[in-house]
């Protein structure tokens, strides 16, 4: 056996890769050969040193930002390529059926024209009959009278104020009316309910103050209000320092608190609410909070179960370092699917380049985008696609 072969065997012996028989032979050899024993000792010593080498080394900088940017650009490219393939396929299909489509469109147009002409002829025929003419005039007068009453005579409607008994909202007693430009204030023991016709009720909490403005608008000066809208056919508008809060749909529940002259907090319990400032609309869905600051603007809405770190990231981006890209990435990397409303609003506040990152983060969280929503459309904030997307988000969260 050559010296090299013995060395290889000793290494195998050291790595415990020998059969029991060869192992025993080596042990016998080691007890007789000092050179091989010394070599084995050196191997053990080398392994001890290798075991002490650091297995973890902290990189000098955080590489995640660069990795994330790269991943986002790959995602954008992949989706773009898929869209191009889809478009080509769609064009192919439409080419094949364009002739059929033209014929069908022509036929539909002709049918519509014929139906309209028939209706017109029937109406003209009826107009010649006196009973039809007088019925029409009577109906128009009724509609006009209802319009005048509804918009002028019934305006100046009274907002009845009721005092709520301590600890209850079900027992109340009439207190006074609230007229336009009038102030209403509660102390530490009173709560008031203001009943607004065609809208619902507003509960003025302890130590709060509001002013009734024109139409169905109020200004919250301090404290908090809970608006409960039932069978409403008017939209409510609440002014707080720095913004106007409006409900998006008829009906819903929301709570607004003015924490100090500079800051307010909106909580949407049910329904959708929009906050407007400087022509930028922020949409807040149910189970979401949104901070408003008179000096630095409107925060991004966040889900009531959002992680503390996520809310801190939002506040940092909106108020501490507005528009900062590091702060933006911090939001994106901390977001999960329940934060999709935040990302939807964020899309409208970032640059076009940054919007790609927001879009692909959102697509990553939601899985496939809804039918008819494309990244190209969202890049230009296409209103139809934005609406479809927020409706889909509402279903998912």
């Amino acid at each position: 056996m050559t010296h090299e072969e013995v060395k290889i065997l000793l290494n195998d012996y050291f790595d415990e890769k020998l059969s029991i028989e060869v192992n025993t032979e080596i042990q016998v050899h080691l007890s007789e050969c000092s050179d091989c024993s010394q070599y084995l000792f050196s191997l053990q010593d080398l392994m001890k040193k290798a075991d002490q080498l650091p297995r973890n080394i902290k990189p000098p900088t955080n590489f995640w930002h660069d990795i994330f940017t790269f991943i986002s650009s790959i995602k954008a490219e992949t989706i773009k390529q898929q869209e191009e393939i889809d478009l080509k396929e769609a064009a192919k299909v439409s080419e094949e059926s364009s002739e059929e489509k033209k014929t069908r469109d022509k036929r539909l147009k002709a049918e519509k024209l014929l139906a309209w002409e028939r209706k017109k002829a029937a109406l003209l025929q009826n107009l010649k009959k006196p009973w039809f003419k007088y019925s029409l005039i009577g109906l128009a007068s009724l509609v006009l009278l209802f319009f005048i009453y509804d918009n002028f005579l019934s305006k100046g409607n009274t907002w009845e104020v009721k005092k709520l008994r301590v600890g209850s909202s079900s027992y109340s007693e009439a207190f006074s009316n609230l007229e336009e430009d009038q102030l209403l204030e509660t102390n530490s023991v009173t709560r008031l309910e203001i009943q607004i016709p065609k809208l619902g009720s507003i509960f003025l909490e302890h130590d709060s103050k509001i002013e009734r403005l024109k139409a169905d608008k109020i200004r919250l000066l301090k404290g908090s209000i809970l608006a409960v809208k039932k069978d409403a056919n008017e939209l409510l508008s609440i002014e707080v320092p720095g913004a106007d809060i409006k409900d998006y749909f008829l009906g819903g529940q929301l709570k607004v608190t003015v924490t100090n002259p500079e800051a307010s907090l909106l909580e949407v319990i049910d329904g959708w609410v929009s906050i407007n400032k400087d022509n930028v609309e922020t949409l807040v869905l149910s189970n979401h909070f949104c901070q408003i600051r008179a000096d630095s603007g409107i925060g991004l809405p966040y889900h009531k179960f959002s992680a503390k770190e996520f809310v801190e990231a939002i506040n940092n981006y909106c108020f501490t370092s507005p528009g900062n890209e590091e702060a933006l990435i911090s939001i994106l990397t901390k977001a999960d699917v329940s934060n999709s409303v935040t990302l939807w609003n964020l899309m409208q506040r970032v640059t076009r380049k940054q919007r790609d990152m927001v879009i692909y983060t959102m697509f990553g969280l939601l899985g496939n985008p809804p039918q008819g929503v494309t990244d190209e459309g969202l890049r230009t904030l296409d209103p139809g696609m934005m609406q479809k997307l927020i409706e889909e988000i509402e279903l998912r969260i």
Partner: protein
Amino acid sequence: MQDNKLIKALVLNAQLGNNSAFEQLYQITIEPVYALILTLTGDPSSAEILTKKTYVNSWQNISQKDEFASILNWLKKNAVETVLAEKSGDQKTDGVIDDKLFPDNSLEKYIQGLEFRNRLIYVLHDIENFSLEEISRLSGFSEKEIKTLLVNTRDNLINLTEK
């Protein structure tokens, strides 16, 4: 080593395209992955580029990750593949070692002085505990060639450290 339930959930979410889950996996694994790449390259700037490439490649291929493989082992294999794709098999690194990075007369320094293929085999086998079969699959060397390279490298390092 098997991944715990949290890591399995993060992998599953990352496979569904959740960047936030992938970032958490990055935070959990970056230090051992960077240590491996730095030891293989001996150069912090190359290590930075290759670490970023490793994670981008891993993000692209995470759907192919075997359900039972540990995420750290899988990332380390990806790291080795990324390093190998950048380096030719017999490239020497003499003269590119960052002197300040490793202390004089240390095993790290001697490892950095090895030819790349010897260093690769030694690091993967004796430091990272990869099997001969895994090293063979990653490097393209036969198991016999790896054994010979390993014996020579150990001899070389014993001579250097016992000087």
